[in-house]
């Protein structure tokens, strides 16, 4: 069937900010969808609030709305654009839920918009637990015993019939939020209550627990002619009970016989047909009882999912791209297989390697959380690795994580397990945690039997035996040395996935020595190809992985100059999609400029690991060893290390310096090394906060005495403000030093030493923080990308703070000083490419905080706000183009600013109810949104909406502020009262407000006071609409902690800084005057001025409007 010609324009709803459970895999799928629809000649309208995505680049759609993903906003977009259809299946659960809301509200029908891919009936059948269960039983598939509850009375009735243990799953949630397993009736009461709260429709499924069963997923596609295919089967190493997003998973399935696999395949097809997904990809999850073989269908996602992205990367079959083609009418047999070019997409990929995915967590950022994995997803990113065998694949995946691990133990990280008694270790391994896989190997090494470990953990004996092979190989290797290992020994070790670093650990030499010795023996890695067909047909697509086999398949036939771009590895807090965006932009820009581009990355969620983003893709760990192997075979003219965040930068000084493109490693070190940096600032006469470096408690206290409190304490060589704290006195400082030096999570990451000292800066209270992104070329011209003013005061990590373009409260003279400092720093560091500089402005004086001569998190935001694609420009500059040349090519045409853009962080506190939801110098946000509107206030309100916080129209605002915040808080309160809100406040805050003449409607008791209503009571009663609570230190179980937690549980808008309160108040004021405006990026970017390097776009002072 040919494509549909009755459609002209199609709306794609993206997935919004990166949150746990919904990461950049939907940028990958959405980008593919946009590309396909454009190629097919449709007008593409895109809505997505996430500026760091590739899909929201104005090139990928005809109308790109970087607007909140909210039904009211989407309705406005639909009214303006009048699309013929909505494709709801590529924007994750967010896109799907919004499409359903638009349908249920009648908006789609009112505008004659058709849902394509999956219709409302199909979505409901798959998503509504009860309907799904009934539908599956109707077609003879077995589901777990269960019942639905919409209130606690229901829940108590259901548990009578289902019986404990049970798993509770809220309806219409993403990433398993609010899901939990209850073994006792007390646990059941708590989990059921929380589950009801999490579900947007207040509904939970209570189901027999099948914890410990084997877990599988099948990625299925269907076309309009009812052709169905399985793209990939996935088996979880972690048995049922751990969310699949938190499980180590392996493709293809390893321990199913064909009889069992075909039964699952048949069931999956019956499922997609019964649910009624007419076209596209779906993900079907299965549980198998290892003792009886009983197969239960767990759930199906009627859309492209995280697993689809993994399956696409694992097989080379681009599910999102094909799903989009199917949605517009093609059938599978009409679409060619991209990889072979000759065979059609109507087949089932077969592979001749093993793919392992390992999640990456961030529990260390959320003190108070248990670190135990369960049915609610908690990981923030993942890596994938390809090997010819499972041992190789697993070891490659573990070293891809960049958590200091070089593989499955046999590295310094294993030392932590050594002191634990075997019985204790076995008990520990029975509880799923991020460390479990390492514990399993340690147990095997101590001789604990596979069956005993299986009994304790439920991890399949086949996987355990494969790990045991790694262990046995290690024990063989321990008996060898660098000199005694024969070629066969080397090959065996490498085929078991041992990295040079692991061998170095076992033999007590450096990985560089290992590499040299290995190469002398002639053992080098070979590159094989991901080709969807296990080599049956010739592959036209250069998508490779390394292994140790007989022959290499990479042929460098081209005479074009080659550039290697190092990607950013797994998503983590502090290093996410923004850096992938920069790497992808570099690939696009350099390809356009005639270079051959080579991408190295190990993150399956990303656009960078799409095989047609660059000329060649290596799906490999970003380690010295793996990157060096590729440099050797590719012989590039250069390597880009400054666009992928810390990951490639950490490798920079081990890559031959003549290959580093852009700013030199020495310049990077001058910015990174505290003493050298101080010298730079001194030379340039740019003021810095007073500071010092300490290697122990005594030196830290001495510095504090010199510079005074409050002080900002931060370890060196960490990302995202890891373990950064603000301390107000000697005791807090001593505690902070203790934590950094001690055996806590950070001790494990390297601890404290002369090489890794602690930096102590005087903390500038109530200062405005400013970020600048700029580009300097190799003839010394500088382009200021943008000056961004933070909404939260200095002290909140820049990644967690909202920021504004253009700056709204800085005078033009201050901006000029900031720009001047930025230029001088860029010159002094001899930057070639991007540089990000952070400043604090206090009482009109500008202090420089730090400079990073690399891509920053804000690059995509700046690009979307100003219309200048900074990363593309930077990539070209790194290869020698001058800003003048690029300006002449139109790459610096800057938007004439009649609007304000705000970037707001999105925080994952709802996933970690145990952690305190307060902002600080340690970054904890997982993603960001962008909002654009006429005034700062409107943009701010919009940014809150985009981040998931709908601010109240009226009602009572609760305020409880630290003393230092009261001055700003008073200003905010005044606006709230003027706008008709009433104020409740704790005694101290109330006094401050009354002193300023503000009416406090209700004075609230402290939690420990028995008399009167306290804030938690008010929240529970639903009396409050907005909570403003700024912390007084991070003491355990402080009042504020309870209040913030209660607000979080109640889903109330929560502001933890006075600055945010003031911005909110201003926003609400503007919002009462003007409705929010909806406009596409293309409209904003239409009015541009020709940019020149030294004359950046005018700063429009919007202060008046706010």
């Amino acid at each position: 069937m040919p494509k549909r010609t009755d459609l002209e324009s199609i709306l794609i709803i993206g997935s919004g900010p990166i949150v746990i459970g919904q990461a950049c895999e939907f940028d990958y799928s959405g980008t593919q969808a946009c590309r396909v629809l454009k190629q097919e000649g449709y007008r593409v309208i895109l809505a997505n609030s996430n500026p760091a995505t590739i899909m929201t680049d104005p090139d990928f759609a005809d109308a790109t709305y970087v607007e909140p993903l909210d039904v009211a906003i989407l309705s406005k977009i639909i009214e303006r654009e009048r699309p013929d259809a909505v494709l709801p299946t590529l924007g994750g659960q967010t896109g799907l839920n919004l499409a359903m809301e638009l349908q249920n509200n009648g908006i789609l029908q009112a505008h004659g918009v058709e849902l394509i891919g999956a219709d409302a009936q199909a979505i409901t059948t798959a998503e509504d637990r009860e309907q799904f269960k009934n539908a599956m039983q109707e077609i003879g598939l077995e589901v777990a015993r269960s019942g639905i509850a919409r209130c606690m009375d229901d829940a108590r009735r259901v548990i009578q019939t289902v019986g404990l243990p049970v798993i509770v799953r809220p309806a219409f949630i993403l990433g398993g939020r609010g899901t939990g397993i209850a073994d006792t009736i007390e646990e059941f009461e708590a989990i059921a209550a929380y589950g009801l709260e999490c579900s947007p429709i207040t509904e939970i499924l209570i189901e027999e627990s099948i914890r410990g069963w084997k877990e599988y997923e099948l990625e299925v596609m269907r076309d309009r002619n009812d052709n169905c295919v399985v793209i990939c089967s996935i088996e979880n190493l972690d048995p049922m009970g751990v969310h699949t997003g938190d499980s180590i998973t392996v493709a293809p399935a390893q321990t199913l016989s064909d009889v069992e696999y075909q039964q699952m395949r048949d069931g999956s097809f019956s499922c997609i047909r019964r649910v009624g997904v007419e076209t596209g990809g779906s993900n079907v999850q299965w549980a198998v009882d290892p003792d009886t073989g009983r197969q239960l269908i767990i759930e199906m996602n009627p859309r492209v999912s995280r697993s689809s992205a993994l399956a696409s990367k694992a097989t080379g079959f681009p599910i999102a791209k094909i799903a989009t083609k199917l949605a517009v009418g093609y059938t599978l047999d009409e679409i060619p297989n991209d990889i072979t070019k000759k065979t059609p997409a109507s087949f089932e990929p077969t592979i001749d390697y093993v793919v392992t995915k390992v999640p990456r967590w961030a529990f260390e950022k959320f003190p108070g959380t248990s670190g135990v994995l369960g049915t609610s997803m908690q990981s923030v990113g993942e890596v994938m690795a390809i090997g010819r065998t499972f041992p190789e694949s697993l070891q490659k995946a573990l070293r891809s994580l960049e958590q200091g691990r070089e593989g499955l133990n046999a590295d310094f990280g294993e030392v932590l397990l050594e002191s634990i008694e075997t019985a204790t270790l076995l008990e520990a391994a029975a509880v799923p945690t991020p460390d479990r896989v390492f514990e399993l190997e340690a147990l095997l090494r101590r001789g604990v039997g596979i069956d005993d470990i299986y009994d304790a953990t439920g991890v399949d004996p086949w996987f355990l035996d494969q790990m045991l092979m790694i262990t046995e190989e290690r024990q063989r290797l321990v008996g060898l040395s660098l000199d005694s290992a024969t070629e066969q020994d080397w090959r065996r070790a490498k085929q078991h996935g041992f990295s040079d670093a692991q061998l170095g650990y076992l033999w007590n030499v450096s990985d560089a020595q290992v590499r040299r010795a290995r190469q002398q023996v002639g053992v080098r890695c070979t590159f094989k190809t991901v080709d969807t067909c296990a080599a049956e047909f010739e592959a036209a697509t250069p998508y490779h992985y390394s292994t140790y086999e007989d022959t290499d398949e990479v042929s460098i036939g081209s005479c074009r100059e080659r550039v290697i771009i190092l990607g950013s590895g797994p998503n983590r807090i502090g290093q996410g999609i923004e850096f992938d965006y920069c790497c992808v932009h570099a690939a696009f820009a350099l390809r356009d400029a005639g270079y051959e581009t080579v991408m190295i990355n190990c993150n399956p969620e990303t656009v960078s690991t799409d095989y047609d983003t660059s000329d060649r893709l290596y799906f490999e760990p970003l380690t010295f060893e793996d990157v060096s192997n590729i440099i050797e075979i590719e012989d590039p003219i250069g390597v880009i290390v400054s666009l992928g965040g810390q990951t490639p930068l950490k490798l920079a000084d081990r890559i031959p310096p003549e290959l580093i493109l852009g700013t030199s490693p020495d310049s990077i070190d001058r910015a990174e090394d505290r003493e050298r940096w101080n010298a730079v600032c001194a030379r340039l006469e740019i003021p810095q906060p007073a500071s010092g470096t300490a290697v122990n408690r005594e030196s830290a206290l001495a510095i504090a005495e010199r510079i005074g409190y409050p002080a900002l304490v931060r370890p060196s060589y960490v990302l995202g403000g890891r373990a950064m704290q603000i301390v107000y006195d000697d005791d807090q400082l001593a505690d902070a030093m203790e934590q950094i030096a001690g055996s806590g999570s950070l001790g494990r990451e390297g601890g404290l030493s002369a090489q890794r000292p602690v930096l102590i800066d005087r903390f500038l209270e109530d200062a405005t923080e400013v970020d600048v992104d700029a580009i300097r070329d190799n003839v010394g011209e500088v382009y200021i990308g943008s000056v961004m003013e933070h909404v939260e005061e200095a002290g909140v990590h820049s990644g967690d703070s909202a920021c504004t373009i253009p700056p709204t409260h800085l005078g033009s003279s201050t901006v000029a000083v900031i720009e001047d400092y930025t230029r001088r720093i860029a010159h002094e560091l001899d930057v070639c490419g991007l540089i990000n500089v952070q400043f604090a402005v206090k009482a009109g004086q500008v202090f420089v905080l730090e400079a990073n001569p690399r891509a920053s998190r804000t690059v995509p935001f700046v690009a979307k706000a100003t219309g200048v694609a900074l990363a593309k420009v930077a990539a070209r500059v790194m290869l020698g183009a001058t800003l003048t040349e690029l300006g002449a090519q139109g790459l610096l045409n800057r938007v004439v600013s009649d609007h304000v853009s705000i970037k707001e962080a999105v925080l994952p506190f709802n996933r970690f109810p145990e952690a305190d939801a307060v902002l600080g110098p340690e970054m904890r946000s997982t993603g960001e949104v962008m909002a654009i509107d006429m005034t700062q206030g409107l943009a701010f309100v919009k940014s809150q909406l985009a981040a998931g916080t709908r601010l109240p129209d009226d009602g009572m605002v609760f305020m409880s502020l630290a003393d230092r915040d009261k001055q700003v808080g008073v200003k905010a309160a005044k606006v709230f009262v003027d706008l008709g809100y009433s104020i409740a406040a704790t005694s101290g805050t109330a006094a401050a407000l009354r002193n300023a003449g503000i009416v406090v409607a209700l004075e609230v008791a402290k939690l420990e006071d028995s008399g009167g209503l306290n804030a938690v009571d008010l929240i529970d009663r639903g009396d409050l609409k907005l909570v403003v609570n700024s912390p007084r230190g991070r003491g355990p179980r402080a009042d504020g902690d309870h209040i913030r937690k209660a607000a979080g549980l109640a889903g109330l808008p929560l502001l933890t800084t006075a600055a945010a309160a003031l911005a909110t108040a201003g926003g609400l004021r503007d919002w009462k005057r003007h409705p929010l405006r909806v406009r596409s990026l293309q409209e904003y970017h239409r009015r541009t001025s020709v940019g020149a390097p030294e004359r950046n776009g005018a700063i429009v002072d919007d202060t008046e409007v706010c």
Partner: protein
């Protein structure tokens, strides 16, 4: 023990021995590759692999052991097995035996640790070819590979067919199966519809017709259809007399009987993921396949070509214009592989019922 694999064109691979010992130091046969991810036991026991050495492209083989219910024949007829990694510990409640022990019990040798991707790419480029493996010297193996005739021109059917007739199932219809190397799964599918009498490949048409069956199924089997033995002589008498369904080798001998031509493919179709389109409704079935020979498109007079392989355009099925005869090149019974084509058995039953009704 270290083994070597040497192809007839001199290409060499190293590995270690698995399965049965090789007292002579050599095992020889024609090397083909199979791309299934699951179903190694069914593949190894498929009689159509008689004379061949099977390379599994998926690296981990043996993970779930073997069991008595997944055998496709009483024993394997293949000459050897080539894998990248043989599982040590197996994991499946269905497992009764380790694959290595199974291979030993059935006297099939194998070689593990081979860069099977390199081997597969070599066969893809150079075609399926004779080879030898074992602990013997390179020269001995090379010579054995050159001496090995491969599958062209050999009557392998005689080696794999049943010695005497037997009956399976108790369905309402009566079907005679010519055992050219029949797989048990095929009989299981048929037994759901009919009482199935399986007869040796040399059974005469008269003997078959005397039992008054409702239909005949010509099974799969190994080797070159032009060397498929007595069935080629008997077919003209059977065609037209009653409904006939041909599968794989059965498809090929039917084509020959109608005057069509067959030819050897470069490396054949061996896998469980082959897309076949029914040209009548454009529906695509993912099929299980195992054939080195194919019927040439357009060569068979009097038939309508109904199925085509989407990967390479190979003819995958036809129906006679007038006579109650149809055939498919692939394996609708699966075992191993997808169940997308089960409907051909129902189609056969309908054909038999229609013919019985009209006669």
């Amino acid at each position: 023990m270290n083994y070597r694999l040497v192809l007839a064109d001199g290409e060499e691979f190293s590995g270690v021995g698995i399965g049965a010992d090789l007292p002579n130091g050599v095992a020889a046969g024609e090397v083909v590759f199979n791309t299934v991810l699951t179903g190694y036991q069914e593949v190894i026991t498929d009689p159509s692999y008689a004379g061949q050495i099977i390379t599994f492209t998926y690296p981990h083989i043996g993970n779930y052991g073997v069991n008595s219910s997944d055998d496709e024949a009483s024993r394997p007829f293949c000459r050897g097995v080539i894998v990248r990694a043989l599982a040590r510990r197996v994991s499946s409640r269905r497992s009764e035996e380790h694959l290595d022990a199974f291979l030993r019990r059935h006297n099939v040798a194998g070689i593990a640790g081979v860069d099977t991707r390199r081997l597969t790419r070599h066969i893809r480029e150079s075609g399926a070819m004779p080879a030898a493996f074992g602990p013997a010297d390179r020269d001995v193996l090379a010579e054995a590979a050159l001496r090995e005739p491969g599958t062209s021109g050999a009557d392998l059917v005689a080696q794999v067919t049943t010695r005497s007739p037997y009956v399976v199932g108790s369905g309402p219809r009566k079907v005679v199966v010519y055992d050219l190397g029949v797989k048990r799964t095929m009989l299981r599918r048929l037994a759901e519809l009919a009482t199935v009498k399986v007869v040796p490949a040399h059974t005469t048409a008269d003997e078959v017709l005397a039992t008054e069956p409702d239909g005949i199924l010509l099974s799969n089997g190994p080797g070159d259809p032009t060397e498929a033995g007595p069935i080629l002589k008997e077919l003209p008498e059977l065609i037209g007399a009653l409904p006939i369904f041909g599968i794989c080798l059965g498809h090929q001998v039917l084509a020959l009987a109608f005057g069509g031509r067959t030819s050897k493919m470069k490396f054949g179709h061996h896998g469980g993921n082959v897309p076949v389109q029914d040209t009548r409704d454009n529906k695509v079935q993912i099929t299980s396949q195992n054939h080195n020979f194919a019927v040439q498109t357009g060569s068979v007079p009097g038939v309508r070509e109904t199925h085509v392989c989407l990967n390479d355009g190979v003819l995958e099925g036809f129906v006679h214009d007038e006579l109650p005869v149809f055939a498919v090149q692939y394996h609708p019974e699966a075992g191993p592989g997808p169940h997308d084509s089960y409907h051909h058995f129902a189609r056969f039953a309908e054909l038999m019922d229609a013919c019985r009704g009209s006669s």
